[in-house]
C-alpha cells in the first residue's frame, strides 16, 4: 500500500508534529469489514516471501437470470492461498449483513497525523464452504483428540503400611493437655453447686460427726459436709472450741455443754 498522504499542506499550526485537522480526502471510500476466524487471520497476517503474491482470492458470483432482484444477492467466497500442512479448509463463505451501525475507519500515526480512511459499506462473517466440510470435520476431530489426552494419572502408593497417616509427635502434647482440661471443668462445677444447708440440719450433722470423732479439722469438716467455708466457720464458732495447743492442735472440739459426758 502506497503512502499517498505523506504530504499534508492543510495544517494551520506552526507545530508540524501536532496536526490540528483531519485528512478527509478518502472519507467516501468504501471499506469492507470482515470478521475472521483465527485460521484465516493467520493466513492473512503471514508475511509472504514474495510481496507481489496474493494471500487470498475473493470471488463474487451473481445469478444472471436474477441479477437485479433482491432475492438473490451476489455471493462472496474467499479462497486462501496458504501452503500450510494439515487439514485446514481453504474455501470460506462470506455472509454479508447490511443492517449495522454506521462506522468510519480512522488511522493515526506516531507523529500525530490523523486521517479518515473511509466508511464501512459491508460487514462479513466467514464460515467454511460446503465443499470443505470434510476437511473441517477432520480438523475438529484432531482438536477434540488433542484435548482428550489426560494430564493426570492415578498411581498406587507403594508404602501402604499407614505410618505416614498417624499424627506427628508434636501432637502428643496436645492430646495430653486435653484430659487435664476435662478434669478442671467438673471441679468448677462442684464449686458452683455448693450451697448452704439449713442451720438446724447443719448443727445436727456436726453433732453426729463429733459423736463419731471428738476432734475434726476444718478441711476435713468441709470435705464431709460439702458446705461453704465461711458458713461452716460460723457454725463451729458457736458449737465448738478451737484447739491452739496440745496434741490436737489445729482441730475443733465440741463444747462441754454440747458434749455427752460419761458421768
Amino acid at each position: 500500500m502506497e503512502d499517498q498522504c505523506g504530504g499534508n499542506g492543510k495544517h494551520m499550526n506552526t507545530n508540524t508534529n501536532s496536526n490540528g485537522y483531519v485528512d478527509t480526502s478518502k472519507a467516501e471510500r468504501a471499506v469492507w469489514l470482515m470478521k475472521c476466524p483465527p485460521l484465516v487471520s493467520r493466513s492473512l497476517r503471514a508475511p509472504p516471501s514474495d510481496p507481489s503474491r496474493p494471500v487470498a482470492k475473493v470471488v463474487v458470483s451473481i445469478d444472471p437470470l436474477n441479477s437485479n432482484d433482491d432475492d438473490s444477492p451476489p455471493q462472496f467466497t474467499m479462497e486462501l492461498a496458504g501452503t500450510e500442512a494439515g487439514h485446514i479448509p481453504r474455501c470460506y463463505v462470506m455472509d454479508m449483513s447490511k443492517d449495522f451501525i454506521p462506522m468510519s475507519v480512522f488511522s493515526d500515526t506516531p507523529q500525530g497525523k490523523i486521517s479518515v480512511e473511509g466508511k464501512i459499506l459491508n460487514k462479513f462473517d466467514m464460515r467454511p464452504h460446503n465443499q470443505t466440510l470434510e476437511l473441517y470435520g477432520k480438523l475438529c476431530r484432531e482438536r477434540t483428540n488433542k484435548y482428550m489426552v489426560k494430564s493426570r494419572q492415578i498411581q498406587v502408593i507403594d508404602n501402604d503400611s499407614g505410618a505416614h497417616m498417624r499424627p506427628m509427635p508434636g501432637m502428643i502434647s496436645f492430646s495430653t493437655s486435653g484430659p487435664s482440661e476435662k478434669k478442671k471443668s467438673p471441679a468448677k462445677a462442684t464449686d458452683t453447686k455448693r450451697t448452704r444447708r439449713d442451720r438446724g440440719e447443719m448443727e445436727e450433722i456436726v453433732f453426729k460427726l463429733f459423736e463419731r470423732q471428738p476432734n475434726w479439722s476444718l478441711r476435713n469438716l468441709i470435705q464431709e459436709t460439702d458446705q461453704p467455708e465461711q458458713f461452716l466457720k460460723d457454725i463451729l464458732k458457736d458449737l465448738c472450741v478451737y484447739n491452739n495447743k496440745g496434741t490436737n492442735q489445729g482441730t475443733y472440739e465440741l463444747k462441754p455443754e454440747y458434749r455427752k459426758s460419761g458421768d
Partner: protein, 536 residues
C-alpha cells in the same frame, strides 16, 4: 486455490468491453446481457460443455504492507458525520484525545492517553462527537480496501463509540448585551441592599448625613429655611424606619433600629438649642412615637411571661420530692425511736427483781401487741395473752404461801402449782414467735451476738431471768420440769431447748454445773445416752 480466472478484453458474444464477467467454468468471458441470454437458453460452454448457471468475478487479496499506521473503527450511532463538506465550504475537522489539545505528541503521552476518549469536532463547532473506547473485542477483524482491482487486508485495531455532544446555544452580540444588562440590574439590587444595610448598621452614617444637613443650613443663613429642611429630613428618616420596622420586626436589626433612634435623639437636642419653639413640638411628636415603640416592647413581655409559665409546675415537683425525702427521714427516726424504747425496756427488765420482772414482762406484752398490726388471728392471740396474766396473778400468792409453810402436804401442793405455772409459759412462747419475729432480729442485732434461729425476745428475757436465777433454784426447777416431762432426754435435746439462754460462757458453765449436780447420764444398749434426774 483454484485456477485463476483470466477475463478477456471483450465479450465473446457481442464484443462489448464493459461490465464483463466470467462463466462459472472460467472458460468464457461474457457481458451481463449475453450471460443472461445464454443462461436462459441453457447454453453450454464451448470448451468444456458445462451448463452456464452463474457469472463470476475474482479479486486478489494482498497482505498489508508494514507501516506505522494504526487503523481503528469509529461507530456513529446517530449517523455518520459529513466529512465531504470540504467542497462546499472547506469545512475542516479535528480529532484529538481529550486533554491533549495542541500538544506535541510523544510516545509517553500516547501511552498515557491511551484510554482517553477521542474528541471529534468541526471548525465551526456545530458538530461535536466524543468517542469512548468499547470493551474488549475478542474476534479478529480485517478491513478489505479496494485498490486497482485488488483488495488489501488490513487488521483493525480498537473500536470507539462516538456520541454526539450536547451543543450550547451560541449567543449573538445583542443577546450577550441583554444578559449583561440583566447582570447590571442585579448589581443595582445589590447596591440598594448595601444602602439599606448602611442605614441600619453604623450609626455614624446617620450622624454624618445630619452634619451635612447642618452645614447646608448654616450656608443658607435663614431660620425659616432651617426649619423646613429639618422637617423634610425627619419625614424621610421616619419613612425609612417604618419600612424597616415592617420588614423586620422581631429581628435583631430592630434592636439596632432602636439604638439608631437613641443616637438620633442627641443631634436633635443640638438642633433644639439652635432652633425655635416649633422644633420643640416636633420633639414631643417624636417622643410619642418612641412611647408607642415602648408599648410594643411591653407587649413582648407577656409573651416572655407566657414562656416562663410552663416552668412554674417544675418547683412543686421538686417540693414533692423534698416532702418524700422528709417522710423517709421521719420513718427512719421512728425506727430509731422504737429501737431506743426496746433498749430501755430491756435494761429495766434486767435491773428489776423477779416479781417486778414478771410484771414488766406483762406490760411489755401489752406494748408489743399495740405496736404490732392486728390481723384477725392477732386479735385472738391478744385475747389469749390477756387471759394468761390473769392465770399467773392468782397463782403467785398461792405459791408464796406454801413455800413459807413446812408441812409435807402443803409442799406437794406447791409443786403441783409450779407445774401449772410452767405449762402456760411453754404454751405462750410459740404463740408469740410469729408476731415478734421481725423485732427479734433487731433485739438480737442490738446484743451484738450471733443471730439465733429467730427466737422471740420474751425467750431472751426469760434467759436473762434464768441468768439471774442461775445461782438460785429456779433454773434447777425449770430443768427438772423439762426432764420430768420427757423421760428419754439426750444432752443434745436439752441443750437445744435452752440454747437461747446459753449465750455467755458464764451461762454455759452454770448450766453445765447444774446438770452435773442434778442429773446423771445413763447409757442404753442402743448407744444413746439419756439425762436422768438423780434421786435426792
Amino acid at each position: 486455490m483454484s485456477t485463476d480466472l483470466q477475463l478477456k478484453s471483450s465479450c465473446s458474444g457481442c464484443g462489448s468491453t464493459t461490465d464483463l464477467y466470467g462463466s462459472n467454468c472460467k472458460h468464457m468471458t461474457l457481458c451481463l446481457g449475453c450471460g443472461k441470454t445464454m443462461a436462459a437458453k441453457r447454453a453450454k460452454c464451448v470448451d468444456c460443455g458445462a451448463t452456464l448457471t452463474r457469472l463470476i468475478r475474482e479479486y486478489n487479496v494482498r497482505a498489508s504492507s508494514p507501516n506505522d499506521k494504526n487503523y481503528f473503527i469509529g461507530r456513529f450511532i446517530n449517523g455518520l458525520p459529513d466529512f465531504s463538506k470540504k467542497k462546499s465550504a472547506e469545512n475542516k475537522w479535528s480529532l484529538q484525545k481529550d486533554g491533549l489539545h495542541g500538544r506535541q505528541i510523544t510516545d509517553t503521552l500516547r501511552e498515557k492517553y491511551k484510554n482517553k476518549p477521542w474528541l471529534l469536532e468541526d471548525e465551526t463547532g456545530q458538530s461535536q462527537f466524543q468517542g469512548h473506547l468499547e470493551g474488549s473485542q475478542s474476534a479478529t477483524y480485517y478491513l478489505l480496501m479496494k485498490e486497482r482491482k485488488e483488495f488489501v487486508a488490513i487488521p483493525a485495531g480498537s473500536w470507539y463509540n462516538f456520541n454526539k455532544v450536547a451543543q450550547y446555544k451560541q449567543l449573538t452580540l445583542e443577546e450577550a448585551e441583554e444578559k449583561m444588562k440583566n447582570r447590571k440590574k442585579t448589581a443595582d439590587g445589590y447596591q440598594r441592599w448595601m444602602m439599606k444595610a448602611a442605614n441600619n448598621g453604623p450609626a455614624a452614617f446617620g450622624e454624618h448625613g445630619k452634619f451635612d444637613d447642618n452645614e447646608s443650613n448654616t450656608g443658607g443663613g435663614r431660620s425659616h429655611k432651617k426649619t423646613d429642611e429639618d422637617d423634610e429630613g425627619h419625614v424621610s428618616d421616619k419613612g425609612e424606619e417604618d419600612e424597616e420596622e415592617e420588614s423586620e420586626r422581631k429581628s435583631r436589626l430592630g434592636l439596632n433600629k432602636r439604638a439608631g433612634e437613641d443616637d438620633e435623639e442627641g443631634p436633635r437636642g443640638g438642633d433644639h438649642d439652635l432652633d425655635d419653639d416649633d422644633v420643640e413640638k416636633g420633639d414631643d411628636w417624636e417622643h410619642e412615637e418612641i412611647f408607642t415603640d415602648d408599648d410594643e416592647a411591653v407587649g413582648n413581655d407577656p409573651e416572655e411571661r407566657e414562656d416562663l409559665a410552663p416552668e412554674v409546675p417544675a418547683p412543686p415537683e421538686i417540693k414533692q420530692d423534698e416532702e418524700e425525702e422528709d417522710e423517709d427521714n421521719e420513718e427512719g427516726e421512728g425506727l430509731s425511736k422504737s429501737g431506743k424504747e426496746l433498749k430501755k425496756l430491756l435494761g429495766k427488765a434486767s435491773g428489776l427483781n423477779e416479781s417486778d420482772a414478771e410484771d414488766d414482762d406483762d406490760d411489755d406484752d401489752d406494748v408489743d401487741d399495740d405496736v404490732g398490726v392486728p390481723p384477725v388471728i392477732a386479735t385472738k392471740q391478744k385475747d389469749a395473752l390477756k387471759e394468761e396474766p390473769i392465770d399467773n396473778s392468782p397463782s403467785k400468792p398461792t405459791a408464796t404461801g406454801p413455800a413459807r409453810g413446812t408441812p409435807s402436804s402443803k409442799s406437794s401442793k406447791g409443786k403441783r402449782k409450779l407445774n401449772e405455772e410452767t405449762k402456760p409459759s411453754n404454751t405462750a412462747t410459740p404463740k408469740k414467735e410469729p408476731k415478734l419475729s421481725a423485732k427479734d432480729v433487731n433485739g438480737s442485732a442490738s446484743k451484738s451476738s450471733a443471730p439465733p434461729k429467730g427466737t422471740p425476745p420474751l425467750s431472751s428475757k426469760g434467759g436473762s431471768s434464768t441468768t439471774t436465777t442461775a445461782s438460785g433454784p429456779v433454773s434447777e426447777e425449770e430443768i427438772r420440769a423439762v426432764l420430768r416431762q420427757k423421760t428419754p432426754v439426750t444432752t443434745q435435746d436439752l441443750v437445744a431447748k435452752f440454747k437461747a439462754r446459753l449465750r455467755c460462757s458464764e451461762d454455759k458453765q452454770a448450766f453445765a454445773e447444774i446438770l452435773k449436780r442434778i442429773s446423771k447420764i445413763q447409757k442404753t444398749t442402743t448407744g444413746a445416752s439419756y439425762v436422768i434426774l438423780r434421786d435426792k
